[in-house]
């Protein structure tokens, strides 16, 4: 069952107070803790026993599935391979996330390798939060991989958030878009202390009239470091946009490399990137409304990562 610590981790990464409604699969320290399927959502362990396969029936509407992972075992590095098959016309929200509690000096980590197949005209919202806590000195490592294939007219919205406490993160997002499909990725990463986070994104606009928008918001506190790569490749008449903003606080560093590749004459690709401190006029404005300097900084960062 869930103990107090599990509940805190679940609350933070999946916004859950106890067990969720509908289908879910909770993984703790590399093992299945609890699972529930629904009439339209099936969850089974894959043949290799290394993860789960989540199948959403075609035409499913307004259902959700929660698949949080919690880690609190010293020295464990949990690797999991999960597949999501979203049937044609289905509309579903998938809430994933990993919470690490590190109580020792040994490294703990999780690598969630997720692949998605989004059927024709299906709509998926994928929310993933990463968070680590605990008094232990061990490093907390999260290396997620998300690969998504989108059929004709499919839509996917992915919200990828790393809240705090993660020492090392190496993320890979890959997407291939079919005709008329729409992909929106929003990534928010906050690092502090000596933490590092790398995010690599490869988006291929394969089908005619496919559209992709990749938004990245990074905040580097302390001496932390973030590296962001976004490659968008257009192979058809399509539209793609990359927007990456980074706020440097203290002595943080950032490298941002948006890259656009148009292999079709009707491709439309744009990007905007910015790195800098919090703008002075924003601070002055909030202070003129009565906030102190520190409150103004917090409010701006909170909005930026919202």
């Amino acid at each position: 069952m869930l103990d107090a610590l599990d509940k805190k981790l679940l609350k933070t990464v999946a916004d859950l107070e106890g067990l969720p409604k509908g289908a879910y699969n909770i993984r703790k320290n590399g093992k299945l803790l609890q699972r529930q399927v629904s009439a339209n959502i099936d969850i089974e362990t894959n043949a290799e026993g290394t993860g789960i396969i989540v199948k959403i029936k075609p035409g499913t509407k307004n259902e959700s599935v929660h698949i949080p992972v919690i880690l609190s075992q010293a020295g464990l590095f949990d690797v999991v391979y999960n597949s999501f098959i979203i049937g044609d016309g289905a509309e579903v929200t998938i809430v994933a996330g990993c919470g690490i509690h590190c109580g020792s000096s040994e490294t703990e980590g999780h690598a969630g390798i997720h692949d998605f197949h989004v059927g024709k005209k299906a709509k998926v919202t994928y929310v993933e939060k990463h968070f680590a806590m605990g008094e232990g000195k061990g490093r907390r490592i999260l290396n997620p991989t998300t690969k998504i294939w989108m059929d004709e007219g499919a839509a996917a919205e992915m919200e990828l958030t790393q809240i705090s406490g993660v020492d090392e993160a190496d993320r890979l997002n890959e997407a291939t878009l079919g005709p008329g499909s729409l992909l929106l990725i929003t990534e928010r990463v906050l690092t502090e202390g000596e933490q590092t986070a790398v995010s690599k994104n490869n988006i291929i606009l394969q089908g005619v009239n496919s559209r992709a928008n990749m938004i990245s918001r990074s905040v580097m506190k302390g001496h932390s470091k973030q590296i962001f790569h976004a490659n968008m490749e257009a192979r058809n008449k399509c539209f793609g946009h990359i927007e990456c903003d980074a706020i440097i606080m203290d002595n943080g560093t950032n490298e941002t490399m948006p890259a656009l590749k148009a292999l079709h004459p009707d491709a439309e690709l744009t990007h905007e990137a910015s790195i800098g401190k919090i703008a002075n006029d924003q601070l002055t404005k909030l202070m003129s409304l009565g906030l102190t300097y520190d409150q103004a900084v917090n409010r701006i960062i909170q909005g930026f990562l919202k």
Binding site: R217, Q282, T284, L286, S288, L289, G290, T292, F304
Partner: protein
């Protein structure tokens, strides 16, 4: 209510900021009284906005003192001045990411009360309700962001309200209602300072202040100010003017 006592603001001159020091505000003495509507005007670059920013504490004064309700506020931060009842409406309001009009109202009022927000929006009148959840970001038009700026200033219920060119970017049909609104918000216990060139504001001023070269060139009624205003209306940037390519001229 607010007294400026030999206020100076000195900064390096020259376009690159490496020139000799010069007095942007050159020893201003003035008292703003309760219950009055002040309009500050004057040529571009005369020091109007700088003066307004000195009052809010956005720029520190170089010498002299500022007192507000009998208390010396020269050393107070922007936050402390805001808390003591001064509010400032920026000429070019800051744009954020992920902060909405509702968020600003909640910061300024200290509450998250839907009823109160709706009351403020309807009191201000010039912002539709749909503005509440708008993000104060780069997608807002110049007029929209100015209306929101004005509303957040009014929502603070300030004792002293300072509006720096509130009419910039505002459509012609809103200027009348805006002037009316700012007049209506003035009470016998408060004072309003508007920095503007707009005749609509000058017409309703209790006191017109003309700033020129960092000094008060005139203070009094509009009709007495008219000869001087006409005199000063010559573009201050004419020596830089390059005809249609003119980049120095803002008006």
């Amino acid at each position: 209510m607010l007294t400026l006592n030999k206020v100076y603001f000195t900064a390096p001159g020259g376009e690159d900021g490496n020139g000799a020091l010069r007095n942007i505000i050159d020893g201003i003495d003035f008292t703003f009284e309760k219950g009055k509507f002040y309009v500050i005007t004057g040529p571009n670059g005369s020091g109007k906005t700088t003066l307004a920013k000195l009052i809010m504490g956005i720029n520190p004064i170089s010498s002299g003192s500022i007192s507000f309700e009998g208390k010396d506020i020269s050393g107070l931060s922007i936050t402390e001045r805001a808390k003591s009842g001064i509010a400032y409406s920026f000429q070019q309001p800051a744009r954020f990411k992920g902060i909405t009009f509702r968020d600003l109202l909640s910061i300024v009022t200290g509450v998250e009360d839907e009823k109160k927000f709706l009351e403020i929006v309807s009191r201000v009148g010039i912002c539709p309700m749909s503005f509440l959840d708008k993000e104060i970001d780069a997608t807002l038009s110049g007029g929209e962001i100015k209306k929101i700026e004005l509303a957040t200033t009014i929502a603070a219920n300030p004792k002293l309200a300072i509006y720096d060119e509130p009419d910039t970017g505002i459509d012609l049909w809103t200027i009348g209602p805006m002037v009316h609104l700012l007049k209506k918000e003035l009470t016998p216990q408060t004072a309003t300072i508007v920095v503007s060139h707009n005749k609509a504001f000058l017409d309703v001023a209790d006191v017109v202040l003309i700033i020129d070269k960092g000094k008060i060139a005139f203070n009094g009624q509009l009709k007495e100010a008219l000869p001087l205003l006409t005199d000063l209306s010559i573009c201050a940037y004419h020596h830089k003017c390059e005809g249609e390519q003119d980049a120095g001229c803002l008006r």
